[in-house]
């Protein structure tokens, strides 16, 4: 405004000079005067503009330096606003400036292509790695050796490449024989005829069916929890439950031997993780103490704290001492996320899992995660807990919110499975008899070691180490035998990891031979397949037997004898 007022005055006060000016300058100045006058009057017409003008004038009069300062401030504000908001590293020292001069401008049918030579050269030079390396011979043969069932899977399935009859299937998860139950099939077909197959929507948008809600109630009732929530895949249940509750800054104390799904859940949660020795509650207490000490030292705020472990460990079949764990959790004020994927539907009088086995109320476990795909031979997984815990997941569990709900007939099959387990405890008794029968034979074998709990329905078989140093990885015995110096809680690797002397490749080959040998003799078993290089701790190679109540004790004995013979034949060579 200051500027605007001055030239108009100049023009007004110098009428004589006009004659001497050239006509073009004259026209220009008239135009300027005219337009500036216009602007000024337009500005003055805005209500309140007089105040601004008065302010500027008086401020300029009082202190011309202030006007300069204010102008600089205005200019700076405009400069800041116009500053392009590119990524930070563009201005950072790590950004390399290339010569972006336009070299060629092509014009083909209005498509303008500009090329920058230097970058183009780099683009031409760059050769990416192949997307996926082809399988090597061992991987290919492993993949080819995966047994493929024809028709219904069950205790005695038919295999594609196996001419002889399979006498026992100790590979597939069919612990309580629900996979073959006719009544479940009938109920599933009824459901199909009422609901169709797919739910065609996520639970939030018309994907919640009455049968889903019924299954959630059935699960909660069965376990004795306040509420439950179902996910459409067992494996991704816990990877979703963990990040729903554990956020950045929260503390997770987890077992070193937890399964892959838990590892992925912990990874995605970005919480602070501390590890305790596998299935060693003494080590857990030490770690909890050290976490508390750390917090006091830093005077950090109270954050959410979780203990994450499994009921029966998928990796080795070891079992958690639940009552002691619960006692510790309450004493130290942690919340417990317990993965019962293997133990739900397989242990306890009626298959309610570890809580039934140890007679601990399920309500004491804050988040009890299980799998209907494994425990009930249906599909999906669940999390049981208090109403608050369940409500929270309905909005925050990624694979609950962003995935279609499970097919109605799988939900009904799971409900029916619960009903069967509830009404016939003899199934579980039979399963336990079979487990004992198998263990009786396997425990006598001197070429293997078994890290699994005697009651575990999955039995892992390791090659016995030549050094004879206990059961090896993940077994509590191995932690006890080494010196008293504890492992570093911040590292997932236990202290004695460097002393592990087994040759993963050789043992895997040998165990695969055992599997092939057993299959030739009619017993279907499997190696515990691992994603080598992706697991946080490389598990020791093992053969995993999964028992079932569908076979009689004699059949189990016969099958296990064949496995023992195959083990002896291969491992003693």
């Amino acid at each position: 405004m200051v500027i605007r007022i001055c030239p108009s005055r100049t023009v007004r006060f110098c009428p004589l000079s006009r004659a001497t000016m050239s006509s073009s300058v004259d026209g220009l100045s008239t135009f300027l005067t005219y337009s500036l006058n216009n602007l000024e009057s337009a500005f003055l017409r805005i209500p309140g503009s007089a105040v601004v003008v008065r302010y500027v004038k008086s401020s300029h009069q009082n202190d011309p330096g202030r006007t300069v300062l204010e102008l600089i401030l205005v200019a700076f504000a405009i400069f800041t606003l116009l500053q392009s908001r590119t990524r930070a590293d563009r201005n950072g020292k790590h950004f390399i400036q290339f010569n972006e001069k336009v070299v060629v401008v092509l014009r083909i049918e209005d498509i303008k292509t500009e090329t920058w030579q230097e970058i183009d050269e780099l683009v031409d030079e760059w050769t990416p790695e192949p997307l996926a390396a082809p399988l090597d011979a061992i991987e290919a043969s492993d993949l080819a050796a995966v047994p493929i069932v024809v028709g219904q899977n069950g205790p005695k399935p038919t295999l594609v490449k196996q001419p002889s009859k399979i006498i026992a299937n100790l590979a597939s998860y069919n612990f309580t024989g629900l996979a073959g139950k006719e009544i479940i099939k009938e109920r599933a077909i009824e459901t199909l005829r009422k609901y169709g197959l797919g739910s065609c929507g996520p639970p939030g948008f018309y994907g919640t069916l009455d049968v889903h809600m019924q299954l959630e109630r059935d699960l909660a009732d069965f376990l004795g929890a306040e509420a439950a929530i179902i996910y459409s895949q067992g494996f991704s249940t816990i990877s979703s439950v963990i990040p729903a509750f554990c956020k950045r800054g929260d503390i997770i104390v987890a077992d070193r031997g937890v399964n892959f799904a838990i590892q992925k859940g912990i990874q995605i949660s970005r919480s602070t993780v501390r590890w305790y020795d596998h299935n060693d509650l003494k080590s857990l207490e030490d770690v909890l103490d050290s976490v508390e000490k750390e917090r006091k030292k830093r005077r950090g705020p109270l954050t959410r704290r979780f203990i994450i472990t499994e009921g029966i460990f998928e990796k080795d079949g070891a079992m958690t001492d639940l009552p002691k764990l619960i006692e510790i959790k309450y004493r130290k004020k942690y919340r417990l996320i317990l993965d019962e994927s293997i133990s739900f539907g397989t242990v306890g009088r009626t298959g309610r899992g570890l809580t039934e086995l140890y007679n601990v109320p399920a309500a004491k476990v804050d988040m009890l995660v299980g799998s209907m795909a494994i425990g009930l031979c249906a599909g999906g997984g669940f999390c049981a807990g208090s109403q608050n815990v369940i409500d929270h997941q309905q909005i925050n569990g990624p694979s609950f919110v962003f995935s279609a709900s499970m097919p109605a007939l799988l939900a009904v099959s799971a409900s029916e499975g619960i009903e069967i387990l509830r009404s016939s405890p003899s199934i579980l008794t039979k399963l336990q008899q079979n487990v004992r029968a198998a263990r009786a034979l396997l425990d006598d074998l001197d070429c293997i070691s078994i890290p699994s709990h005697p009651a575990s329905p999955i039995i892992h078989l390791h090659v016995r180490s030549k050094s004879g140093a206990g059961g090896g990885l993940l077994h509590p015995a191995s932690a006890a035998t080494v010196s008293a110096k504890p492992s570093n809680p911040a590292s997932v690797l236990p202290r004695d990891a460097s002393k592990w002397d087994w040759d993963i490749n050789a043992e895997e080959r040998a165990l695969q031979q055992v599997v092939d040998e057993a299959l030739k003799r009619g017993v279907m078993i499997t190696r515990a397949k691992r994603l080598r290089g992706q697991e946080m701790v490389e598990a020791r190679p093992s053969i995993r037997l999964a028992l079932t109540s569908e076979l009689s004790a004699d059949e189990v004995k016969k099958a296990v004898k064949i496995v023992c013979q195959a083990l002896k034949d291969v491992l003693r060579k």
Partner: protein, 658 residues
């Protein structure tokens, strides 16, 4: 006004008795020799024996109440029209004009993500609405914590435990979402087909609890991802699933690599590969997990993932697990993508400046909230120059787009083998569950061995596999088995190792189906599949263009079966949802808001299905027209360019062919 549908007696809808009398007349009328184009095969098939009367009944023991106009077709069929579907699941429509081929016309530009701006007063009032909501929420929290501490206990530290959910983190849920909870998580029952049955509920305490009244309401379903209408409790696919349950049971009993594989898996994977036109494919039992469990085995540290900013949560989940670097580009903006690529390749990895090991671009074929199609032709051009790998998530587009239903590549007529990874789900178009990844053989084998699902996740169950196989085969059509006897001797299992000339898109070879599976002729010759594709394309375009002509602001590609209608103001979401549900013919809709969309662009998302008839789309358009006037939603076309709803319904064919 009551919260529930008014149970007024029917006005215009056909009474049941008159429907049957019309049907009886139709039966007696002589056939005039015109074979309907839609279902030529059916008139010859054995399913004729089941009369049309049966097929319109939705449940056997339920008397037909057509007061909502949903149970019976608008017009009684004449004797030449025989329908094999239940009208409430899959609408009866034999008018061959109401069909359209979903394909890209070469040379035409791909419409970008149209951001049509609303008037400023709408934007302003939207911001003010949120401001008021947020202020009120904080005020209530402030007062509530002091006056009623008991109801805030779960948000406060207590007894040495930090709260599971801090009051700040849950603010949005408690103070904004709760207000419109009646729009979400509505429990339903029955088939999620053309119509769906809602379990009525009321909330006595402002949505903190929902109480079921025990009654049900049938509503027109324009919300489920049932693009091709395969969500059916009856028909060829459901029969096949029943046979599968008897043959294979419910469960696969384990993971793919540990004793859960069956011949059905091998068959289905081969069929998926055939369908997609790739060398091989793998199947995973959950759609979300297909992304979250397989992306980490494609990229790792030292790789760069360039991801569209609107990619689905499962992709983000997978990429986060992979440890690769991620950069995002503006939704469907090819110029931004190219400049990002140039920068990434020329700068290399951060700090070290080593070249990236690989660059993987992840895009979706059809974006579930926007209805936009990826600009695949442009990406393929870029791919030639910049040598990145391309991952296309076809969760919504497979089955729903393209003249053969093969997805976005089919729509743009791009050879599927030029795309590195085609991922998709079976939840949507196929009425099943789970997902697949298709690509070349060495890649798929690598994923089988390295993907998280192989050793650890349960394999897909036989009923779901069968639904996939049956619905997919009926889209493809099944080619007649060759006359040579070589097939009869071998087992039912055909491994995908056979060398046969590559031909895409081809019908499914008869040998690729299980021996016990028999589809009715209309499904196996592909006529019904084709008609479903055409009906979906017609319905999608009709709804899309109709809404535009009525003056609404919509997003997305006209070919997309997802049609978002913009509401903007958060308060209108509740109202829109409720006003659509509270009509004579109740319509259920999905309303979405922040955080699924940007803050201002709250929207309704319609998911069109082949199961809808043209009359159903008319119903939706009429409802939107009325509600749109009340709620002031028409900010698109200028008043002079708009059509009335009657004009739209009458000139549907003209609209679709625009």
């Amino acid at each position: 006004m009551s919260l529930f549908k008014k149970k007024t007696p029917s006005r215009s809808a056909t009474p049941v008795t008159s429907y049957f009398s019309a049907l009886a007349q139709a039966e007696t009328r002589p056939v005039n020799g015109v074979v309907p184009t839609a279902t030529p095969a059916l008139s010859l098939s054995s399913s004729v024996t089941s009369s049309s009367e049966d097929t319109i009944l939705h449940e056997e023991d339920m008397e037909i109440d057509n007061s909502d106009g949903l149970a019976l077709p608008a017009r009684a069929p004449n004797s030449s029209e025989v329908f094999s579907t239940v009208h409430t699941e899959f609408g009866h429509c034999s008018n061959g004009d109401y069909r359209f081929v979903s394909q890209h016309i070469p040379g035409t530009p791909v419409p970008a993500h149209v951001d049509q701006d609303p008037p400023y007063y709408i934007l302003l009032s939207t911001y003010i609405s949120y401001l008021i909501l947020i202020c009120m929420g904080h005020l209530r929290d402030f007062v509530g914590k002091r006056l009623r501490p008991a109801s805030y206990r779960h948000l406060m530290p207590s007894d040495g435990y930090a709260p599971l959910n801090s009051d700040f983190d849950s603010f949005y849920t408690r103070r904004l979402k709760t207000r419109m909870d009646e729009c979400f998580s509505q429990p339903v029952t029955g088939v999620a087909g053309r119509t769906i049955q809602l379990l009525d509920r009321i909330s006595p305490d402002y949505n903190h609890h929902q109480i079921f009244t025990g009654t049900r309401t049938r509503a027109l379903n324009i919300s489920s991802y049932n693009y091709l209408g395969f969500a059916q409790a009856r028909g060829g696919c459901a029969d096949a699933v029943e046979a599968a349950i008897r043959e294979h049971g419910i469960s696969s009993c384990g993971s793919r690599l540990e004793g859960g594989s069956s011949d059905l898996h091998v068959l289905a994977e081969a069929l998926v590969a055939k369908f997609m036109g790739t060398e091989d494919a793998l199947i995973s039992s959950m759609g979300f997990a297909t992304n979250s469990a397989y992306i980490p085995s494609l990229v790792s540290k030292g790789c760069l993932v360039i991801s569209d900013e609107l990619n689905h949560a499962s992709i983000r989940f997978g990429v986060r697990l992979s440890g690769a670097n991620v950069q995002m580009f503006r939704h469907n903006d090819m110029a931004a993508l190219e400049s990002l690529l140039r920068e990434a390749i020329s700068q290399g990895q951060p700090k070290t400046h080593r070249p990236w090991k690989k660059i993987l671009i992840i895009v979706e074929g059809l974006y579930s909230m926007e209805g936009t199609l990826v600009n695949l032709p442009a990406i393929m051009e870029l791919k030639k120059k910049y040598k990145f790998y391309l991952f296309v998530d076809e969760a919504h587009s497979v089955g729903a787009l393209g003249p053969h239903g093969r997805g976005v590549a089919d729509y743009f007529n791009i050879p599927p083998r030029s795309i590195d990874i085609l991922m998709g789900t079976f939840t949507k178009s196929f009425g099943a569950a789970g997902g697949y990844i298709a690509g070349n053989k060495s890649l798929i084998d690598r994923l089988r061995v390295r993907g998280h699902s192989g050793p650890y996740a349960e394999a897909m169950t036989p009923p779901v596999l069968t639904q996939v196989v049956a619905s997919m085969a009926s889209i493809m059509g099944i080619s007649a088995p060759p006359l040579t006897s070589s097939n009869s001797s071998s087992s039912t299992l055909k491994l995908p190792l056979e060398v046969e000339p590559y031909h895409h898109p081809a019908p499914a070879p008869a040998s690729s189906l299980p021996s016990w599976l028999s589809l009715p002729p209309s499904l196996s010759d592909g006529t019904e599949g084709r008609s479903r594709l055409r009906r979906l394309a017609f319905n999608s375009r009709y709804l899309h263009q109709g809404l535009i002509k009525l003056g609404f602001i919509t997003y997305g590609h006209p070919a997309s079966p997802i049609v978002p209608l913009l509401l903007f103001n958060p308060g209108k979401m509740n109202m829109f949802h409720w006003m659509m549900k509270d009509r004579q013919t109740p319509i259920i809709v999905v309303v979405v808001a922040y955080p699924a969309t940007p803050l201002v662009t709250s929207r309704v998302r319609f998911c069109v299905s082949a199961a809808h008839t043209k009359e159903d789309i008319d119903t939706v358009l009429r409802a939107c027209d009325e509600v749109g006037d009340v709620l002031d939603l028409k900010h698109g076309l200028r008043r002079s360019e708009r059509w009335t709803v009657d004009q739209v319904c009458e000139r549907a064919l003209e609209l679709v062919n625009l």
